[in-house]
């Protein structure tokens, strides 16, 4: 509704910039959907849309934790390696004890603990997050590869598998988990004091500290949350794929970061939202789904993904200028 022409005049029907931006992003996702519907008959079917949502859920969970980290102007490069280790430990526990619930606790706990250690590295040791989490990536991969020794763990109880491949009222389980964390994440970031402090730290850590924000504690919290989300994502992956391998989920780190950035969260911190990240994850998933449906040649797929990412972030920064 709000455009550059009306900026000088008193605005009527003007949306707040944040919402206008969100509308643009939704529009971008909608354009991709409409284009794909015309290009492929299989795209706009209930089955395919549920399929896309289920795939988006996984990426969103990882990316939602990352969103908070990036809001503080930090970065967590260890999420993929975290998924691998958490998945392998949880898989071992489920296999050896037969208790899926115990495996669930171990996977989530392992993820959160790794995140907590990242938080300590960043705050107590004052290591830049990029370096700390990059180092953590190597440490975790090393542990996982040593621990798994090239083996795989296969076959989990049906009850546990419901988490990834089950349905409730015709909607896949992971989609409910995605919606839950969308609401939780948005509520935390927009409606709580702590959430607002996270924004403040990203916008200006010095000012935040001077105005009494416990910067270190909030930072430890967001890294722990990011780790816990990796742990949760690892459990959903296990339940979906019914097996674990030393490099499972490793390839998800960059797409998760891309989802956050496409969703309009600034790498410099202080600006963005969990809801935006959901749209970012959705766009990335749509692209893969579309390329599979349209039979895009394997060689071109990485190129297409790269162009879409750059294009999406560019459009996002252009529309932001319009809305401000």
């Amino acid at each position: 509704m709000s455009t550059a022409e009306t900026a000088a005049a008193p605005r009527r029907f003007a949306l707040p910039p944040e919402l206008a931006q969100m509308a643009y992003r939704l529009l971008a996702a909608a354009i991709v959907c409409v284009a794909l519907s015309f290009l492929s008959d299989a795209f706009f079917t209930a089955n395919n849309l549920l399929n896309i949502l289920r795939q988006t859920a996984l990426l969103f969970l990882l990316a939602s934790g990352l969103t908070l980290v990036i809001l503080t102007a930090g970065l967590d490069l260890s999420v993929g390696a975290n998924v691998a280790l958490s998945a392998c430990l949880a898989a071992t526990v489920i296999k050896s004890t037969g208790y899926a619930s115990l495996g669930f606790v171990v996977g989530l706990g392992c993820g959160a603990l790794i995140g907590f250690i990242n938080g300590i590295l960043v705050t107590a040791l004052r290591i830049p997050s990029f370096i700390a989490t990059y180092g953590m990536l190597w440490i975790l991969s090393g542990i996982t590869y040593y621990y798994m020794a090239g083996e795989t763990i296969h076959g989990f109880p049906p009850a546990f598998r419901q988490l990834g491949s089950g349905y409730l009222f015709g909607i896949p389980m992971p989609v409910y988990i995605m919606v839950l964390f969308l609401l939780l994440g948005s509520w935390f970031a927009q409606r709580t004091v702590w959430g607002q402090q996270v924004y403040a730290i990203g916008a200006n850590p010095v000012a935040a500290r001077l105005s009494g924000v416990p910067v270190e504690r909030r930072l430890v919290l967001v890294y722990t949350f990011s780790g816990a989300m990796a742990g949760l994502a690892s459990l959903i992956i296990l339940a979906r794929i019914n097996s674990a391998q030393g490099d499972i989920g490793e390839e998800l780190t960059l797409p998760a970061i891309a989802a956050v950035l496409i969703g309009g969260t600034s790498l410099f911190g202080g600006f963005g939202s969990v809801a935006g990240t959901l749209i970012g994850a959705l766009i990335l998933t749509l692209v893969l789904n579309g390329m599979n449906l349209l039979q895009v040649n394997a060689s071109w797929q990485p190129l297409v993904t790269g162009v879409i990412v750059i294009l999406a972030v560019w459009i996002d920064s252009r529309t932001r200028k319009l809305t401000e």
């Binding site: 296969h154 490099d247 893969l288």
Partner: protein, 319 residues
């Protein structure tokens, strides 16, 4: 009495070691591509098993970052300083590691190349199975099982990697022999099980009838099986690598077959050739293992974990 017995044993042992012209205790450096793929684990176990049998010391070199060319290059430089007696070598990349092979050769260390054939260089021998034929035989097995008709999907590995190019070429050549089978989709999943699951989920949306899936490795085959199960659909799936996981799935009837690359035997033979070459014995220049398609009727021997398997005799294989 006891002392006498040990003394006798020691003398006998000494006599034994002088009695033969063979040395032992050679050090063999083994290079593999990564710590994540079960195939390379099987190779490493094969080298250790052969090393034990021949009394040679085995040192493993594996890049910490999977399939890292620069890391393998720097590991080669380390090895040249440490000077092992011989090297058993799987290049991370068959072209990029040519200078590394030249360096090892320049340091007068004999090299046995296994699995991925190096593009050029002076090696004592090459031991491998051929990706193209494994793809071809595994593909033929699936298409025959489908009764020579129906729709199939190919799941590719990492685009541009030598193994993927050859395996997929094998698949497509097998398809040419069955004109009534239609290839409805060919998409990449980068050898990853999760990606294969998602790609398969997507492909099932646009293809209501899929009868067979040709996956370029076992993890992708597992991903495809899980996607089919999730949608309550049935299709015959084949993979490549003959991993333990694949054997279990063949046993339970979920996976039709897996083309075996036999990493364990390649590790065995590569090490044995290296040791025998050092002991100035005659060794074959090249061994290409015949592809084995592991399936319902022949999977039993593959159930034995690699750690408990015996190396085949070099003389039996190299005829």
């Amino acid at each position: 009495m006891k002392h006498l017995a040990t003394g006798m044993a020691a003398i006998l042992a000494l006599a034994g070691s002088f009695g033969t012209a063979r040395a032992d205790g050679e050090t063999i450096a083994v290079f593999t591509k990564n710590q994540t793929n079960p195939y390379f684990q099987a190779v490493r176990v094969g080298t250790e098993t052969a090393g034990k049998a021949l009394k040679a010391k085995i040192i493993q070199y594996v890049p910490t970052k999977p399939d890292s060319i620069p890391e393998q290059l720097s590991q080669v430089e380390d090895v040249i300083v440490k000077k092992p007696d011989a090297v058993v070598f799987i290049p991370v990349d068959y072209k990029a590691l040519v200078p590394a092979v030249a360096k090892i050769d320049g340091a007068k260390i004999p090299i046995v190349n296994i699995t991925d054939r190096i593009a050029s260089g002076n090696v004592v021998a090459y031991v491998g199975a051929d990706d193209y034929n494994i793809g071809l035989e595994t593909g033929r097995y699936l298409l025959k099982a489908m009764g020579g008709k129906g729709n199939v999907i190919i799941l590719e590995g990492v685009k541009g990697s030598l193994t993927n190019i050859d395996r997929v070429r094998g698949f497509t050549d097998a398809l040419k022999e069955f004109p009534n089978v239609k290839l409805v989709a060919q998409q990449p999943a980068n050898y990853q099980r999760l990606q294969a699951l998602q790609v398969m989920e997507n492909l099932m949306q646009s293809h209501s009838q899929i009868d067979g899936v040709l996956a370029a490795n076992d993890p992708m085959a597992v991903g495809a099986i899980e996607a089919l199960d999730g949608a309550n659909r049935k299709a015959m799936v084949v993979g490549i690598n003959g991993s333990k996981e694949a054997v279990d799935l063949i046993k339970s009837g979920k996976l039709l077959a897996s083309g075996d690359f036999n990493g364990f035997i390649q590790g065995c033979l590569g090490t044995e050739i290296a040791v025998r070459h050092l002991r100035k014995e005659k060794t074959p220049k090249e061994i290409i293992l015949k592809p084995v398609v592991i399936q319902k009727s022949n999977y039993q021997p593959y159930e034995t974990p690699v750690e408990q398997r015996q190396c085949p005799k070099l003389a039996d294989v190299a005829k």
